[in-house]
């Protein structure tokens, strides 16, 4: 493990408030998801269909992208293409500037975080107003999201109260979570109406209509995309579905897996700008379609990861995420899905610890609503980092020694016999409390004492 990753995880594990905050939110999420799944006998079949729909789109991405573009343009949208995060930000900033934007409202989008849009807006001197309550908290704290569904999961109510009291114009008493939500509602209300541009992401891009589907529980997406003169959507090219009927299959899976509800409170299909005669809506509707590594995933054995709906279930069920939280991962996306995506986005040499910081217990794959084989993809990164010679020299040396011994059966049997005998010298009552070269393990927990004889010795002892 690199020093930076070790330092981040040690800091996270030592933070008892963080652990409490993670346990509260992920515990509720797991329980609610389990209840929703138990209440749906067809869930397993639906996951298979969800997987097949996404695989179908990924196999025919060119066809569906062209169809989506054609229909979006016909609806009055302007479609833009970006190969990289930089191109996507440049296009978005240029659109904001040509709209004369001083203030921009944003509805939470993981793609926006991925391409660094918050930073790009700040650098361009444009006021950015995060409207999702959790993103609002994260923005006030000058922080980063730590979960893809609950970005402020790492903040306790006490911390939120302190920030709102300091930053809100009319905070009131803030003596309950209800009061805090009310204060944010008052604070953001005028911002929604005053924004020049509203920026959203997309949960689905519907090819046969050119519509963009967003899901929220707060209603902030529609308040972000309706009052301003310009609505900009930033979306990854993998968000495509053939039709609205295909989207409904995935919506059932997405919402249950994320929050345990059957449908988000507000599920909206945005199709083009304001029509002639419409009572409200933007004059301009722009869609920025972003690659940023997605076509590379097709080529580099990560096509299955393009199924991801960003539901967060793999985070909530991951034993590692639940110990260290989102920030320790160091990338935009945390948890198992993040450990697969971050090496692609940020480069394997700097991020090789992420696929290694995994127990491979398989929980993530079991709960994934589109059956992404996350452990397989994580092992793929481990293989690749080994082939590229990235692991630390001591580890490469250690495994080299083991391989030398393991390839020589007589030597291997001798070595295991000696190891057993010497380890037994340190065992007390069947457990090893400390032992040379094993402090990394025994500093935190006991190691089980070894058997009297090795497996091979026992087999031989039985005369086989």
């Amino acid at each position: 493990m690199t020093a930076a990753f070790t330092a981040r995880t040690e800091q996270a594990i030592g933070d008892r408030t963080l652990k409490l905050a993670i346990d509260r939110t992920t515990g509720t999420a797991r329980a609610k998801r389990a209840a929703a799944v138990a209440d749906w006998p067809g869930f397993e079949q639906a996951r298979e269909l969800g997987r097949d729909i996404k695989d179908h789109v990924i196999a025919h991405l060119g066809h569906y992208l062209a169809e989506f573009e054609r229909n979006a343009i016909a609806s009055g949208a302007k479609v833009h293409w970006a190969r990289t995060a930089e191109e996507a930000c440049d296009i978005t900033i240029r659109l904001c500037r040509s709209a004369g934007a001083r203030s921009v409202t944003r509805a939470k989008s993981m793609l926006g975080e991925e391409i660094g849009l918050p930073h790009a807006l700040a650098a361009a001197g444009i006021e950015r107003v995060e409207t999702d309550l959790a993103e609002h908290v994260v923005q006030l704290a000058g922080d980063r999201p730590s979960h893809i569904v609950w970005p402020a999961l790492h903040k306790t109510r006490e911390q939120v109260r302190e920030m709102f009291a300091r930053e809100h114009a009319d905070p009131g008493p803030l003596d309950s979570v209800e009061a805090m939500v009310g204060s944010a509602r008052r604070q953001l209300r005028m911002k929604f109406m005053a924004a020049d541009v509203g920026i959203s992401g997309a949960n689905f891009l519907v090819a046969d209509s050119g519509a963009v589907c967003t899901v929220t529980n707060e209603g902030n997406a529609e308040l972000t995309t309706t009052p301003p003169r310009v609505h900009i959507v930033t979306a990854g090219i993998e968000k495509l579905v053939p039709s609205m009927a295909h989207a409904t299959v995935l919506l059932r899976l997405l919402v249950r897996s994320a929050t345990g509800a059957e449908l988000t409170q507000y599920t909206t299909f945005h199709c083009g700008p304001k029509r002639p005669g419409d009572a409200d809506g933007p004059d301009e509707f722009h869609i920025v379609l972003v690659d940023n590594g997605r076509t590379r995933m097709l080529r580099e054995g990560l096509a299955e990861m393009l199924r991801c709906l960003r539901c967060g279930a793999c985070l909530n069920h991951c034993v590692v995420y639940r110990q260290i939280g989102g920030h320790a991962y160091g990338g935009t996306y945390p948890g198992p899905m993040g450990a697969v995506l971050t090496p692609l986005l940020d480069g394997l040499p700097a991020t090789q610890d992420l696929p290694r910081a995994c127990t491979l217990n398989g929980q993530c794959a079991e709960v994934c609503p589109v059956k992404i084989p996350l452990p397989k993809l994580l092992r793929g990164w481990r293989d690749r980092s080994w082939r590229e010679g990235l692991p630390p020299r001591t580890e490469v040396f250690g495994i080299g020694v083991w391989r030398f011994v393991a390839a020589r059966p007589a030597l291997y049997r001798l070595a295991t016999r000696l190891a057993l005998r010497s380890m037994r010298l340190f065992a007390r009552g069947g457990w090893i409390r400390s032992m040379p070269f094993a402090r990394g393990w025994t500093a935190h927990r006991d190691f089980p004492g070894p058997a009297r004889r090795s497996f091979m010795e026992q087999i031989r002892g039985r005369g086989r």
Binding site: A134, R185, F192, M244, H246, R252, E262, Q265, C271
Partner: protein
């Protein structure tokens, strides 16, 4: 090479997949959650007022009785008689005596009255199609969102929305509203009225078709 050309070049050409896309949808009816009984309207009301969606509902025999039902709701909640009335002809035609209706929507509007285009039994959702007679903000700015829906307009499944929309010009926004606005962003505690309405009240008008549609 433009960004667009580069992305298409990286994906490569592919064959037209229309038949496969349709075949995937043929699997849907067998795996949907068991949410719709014989009566779509009863199923809709049960989901709508259940603990998950958490809306309230009243039934009236016809649209003509809607204003009285709105008055009842406002009185019980201790709200004033002022309502933002969606500029839909079917609502404007009703007798709103005793209420102060207006056609705009304020940022701190107490209550609006809207007419849903149709509703979905499976999820207890109300469907709105934006337009000249349906300003989107009527469904998002008020604290109390009062929604009229005709029983004959309750469809069974989410896929029925897609079927109803097929072949019609798409509105700017097609919105499925499933309960009042809520958030669990602070310590996972559910609070209603995050940015959108804190209360959703449905007035179901007329008798339903009785038997759930299938698709």
């Amino acid at each position: 090479m433009s960004a667009r050309d580069a992305i298409f070049a990286a994906i490569g050409a592919d064959a037209h997949p229309a038949a496969t896309a349709a075949a995937l949808l043929a699997r849907v009816p067998g795996l949907r959650p068991d949410r719709v009984g014989n009566d779509a309207v009863e199923s809709f009301l049960a989901r709508l007022t259940g603990p998950s969606v958490a809306a309230t509902a009243a039934r009236v025999a016809s649209l003509a009785e809607v204003p009285a039902a709105v008055r009842d709701y406002l009185r019980v909640r201790g709200l004033g008689p002022r309502i933002a009335l969606q500029p839909a002809a079917a609502l404007r035609a009703l007798d709103w005596a005793g209420l102060e209706t207006h056609g705009g929507i304020a940022v701190d509007e107490a209550a609006s009255v809207c007419l849903a285009a149709y509703a979905v039994a499976e999820t207890g959702s109300l469907v709105f199609r934006s337009g000249a007679d349906m300003p989107v903000l009527f469904a998002f700015l008020p604290m109390h969102h009062i929604v009229v829906v005709e029983a004959a307009g309750v469809v069974a499944w989410l896929e029925d929305c897609a079927a109803r929309e097929a072949g019609r010009p798409a509105p700017r926004n097609l919105i499925l509203v499933t309960g009042p606005s809520g958030t669990t962003d602070i310590e996972g505690v559910l609070v209603r009225g995050a940015h959108g309405p804190g209360h959703l009240h449905v007035i179901l008008a007329g008798a339903g078709a009785g038997v759930a549609e299938s698709s």
